[in-house]
């Protein structure tokens, strides 16, 4: 790892002010991706700005129709939250299956979505539930936030402060996990909400996406049978040693069916 200057500000404003004075600064949340990347010298920031000291970014608030999760809330805290387990059990289940216990003790929702790994679980939950990403300057619908492979709509100095999840009528998540890393080879999040049904897929393509045909079918009948014969095109799908593009396309249908079956 190349050396850097380490900063631990205690407010969002202080973090931004350090950022603006840095040569090639980077924010670090849980560091579960960034620190290994720096160890491989694939990232070499001049300044590492640790957001862990900003108490205002941590915590879970339950409101009548939504759950608001602070950007620096760890996966372990989301998975264990009684409010989330009650209001959106599918979200707690999804988070419980991220990485391993040690990763969940350090990794955060803000860090995960800012990284936008194509195989990460959280993007499916955000897009599936129609969540809103709140930053230090604006609010973004999840679909507008995730823009491509490891790409988001965030400006370089923009900080996620919280994520707001509307409480669905029912939701389910099913993933076909890489047996070694637990990343999603394909993960499908299905949610039935007052505004309709949403189906979001992670792992299959370069970035999370919705499947309108499945949403339409589930809107008329919210049942596993409604999606079991709907195929998705594998053009633009990921293909690697773990799974070919056509296999991933096959898994989208299977996982969608299982997600509907698991929905509660």
């Amino acid at each position: 790892m190349y050396n850097f200057a380490y900063h631990r500000p205690d407010s969002v404003d202080a973090a931004k002010s350090v950022f603006s004075g840095g040569d090639d600064p980077k924010f670090v949340a849980g560091g579960m991706t960034l620190i290994p990347t720096m160890k491989q010298r694939l990232a070499a920031p001049s300044d590492l700005i640790d957001l862990d000291g900003i108490g205002a970014l941590k915590g879970i608030k339950a409101e009548a129709d939504k759950i608001v999760v602070g950007a620096m809330t760890t996966h372990a805290d989301v998975a264990a939250s009684p409010e989330i387990r009650k209001a959106i059990p599918a979200l707690a289940k999804l988070v419980e299956a991220i990485g391993d216990p040690q990763v969940r003790n350090r990794g955060t929702i803000g860090g995960s979505i800012a990284n936008n790994d194509p195989a990460a679980d959280y993007p499916a939950a955000l897009v599936g539930l129609g969540a809103t990403v709140v930053t230090d300057r604006r609010q973004l619908a999840a679909e507008d936030f995730f823009t491509g492979l490891f790409e988001t709509a965030l400006e370089p100095d923009e900080l996620i402060t919280e994520v707001s999840f509307p409480i669905p009528e029912a939701a389910g998540y099913a993933k076909f996990a890489n047996p070694a890393s637990r990343y999603a080879i394909v993960g499908v999040f299905v949610a039935r909400t007052g505004g309709g049904v949403r189906v979001a897929v992670t792992g299959a393509g370069p970035c999370v996406f919705r499947v309108p045909e499945m949403e339409k079918a589930l809107a008329s009948s919210f049942s596993a049978d409604a999606v079991k014969d709907i195929k998705v095109s594998d053009s633009d799908f990921n293909s690697d040693i773990h799974a070919s593009a056509p296999y991933r396309a096959h898994l989208v249908t299977v996982m969608a069916r299982r997600a509907v079956e698991a929905a509660q």
């Binding site: 050396n3 391993d100 216990p101 040690q102 350090r106 637990r182």
Partner: protein
């Protein structure tokens, strides 16, 4: 570009100068000479470096020493009391929960965290919770057996 870090390690206050890039595991091993915490893969896969920071298990190869500043760290060396093995260590010894022993410190530290989450863990819960710990000898069967037994003793 050096900075001073202070933390409590195994109940003892320690303080030393490190570079910001110093990993927690390097600080424990090289500065404090606490070499019970192992570096297996150095890519956060294997869990040989698991320690507890403020009571939660973390991989010490994926955390900076400066990030542990002011915190409480517990390593494998901090488990035994007055020469008596911790019940989980004793269970690993009794049930032959190790072959070469390299992964053992991380396994024991993870196991104690598992028991905190699941005081009476099922075999499935243990196997699921050991996701982040690899044993290249593949001695999982006795590791799981040890954790079941260690949990029982810990419950008292």
């Amino acid at each position: 570009m050096r900075t001073t870090v202070s933390m409590t390690v195994n109940g003892r206050s320690v303080s030393d100068e490190v570079e910001p890039r110093t990993l927690l595991v390097q600080f424990l091993r090289d500065n404090l000479r606490l070499t019970g915490t192992h570096v297996g893969c150095d890519t956060s896969q294997c869990g040989a470096c698991v320690v507890h920071v403020d009571g939660k298990s973390v991989k010490a190869c994926s955390m900076l020493a400066v990030q542990a500043d002011g915190r409480e760290v517990l390593t494998i060396e901090g488990l035994a009391e007055d020469g008596e093995l911790h019940p989980m260590q004793a269970a690993f010894k009794e049930h032959h929960g190790l072959q070469c022993g390299f992964c053992t410190p991380g396994m024991v530290m993870s196991a104690i965290d598992i028991v905190k989450q699941h005081p009476d863990p099922t075999e499935a819960e243990i196997r699921e919770s050991l996701e982040g710990n690899l044993c290249r000898c593949t001695g999982y069967h006795n590791i799981v057996k040890s954790i079941v037994a260690g949990a029982k003793t810990m419950r008292g």
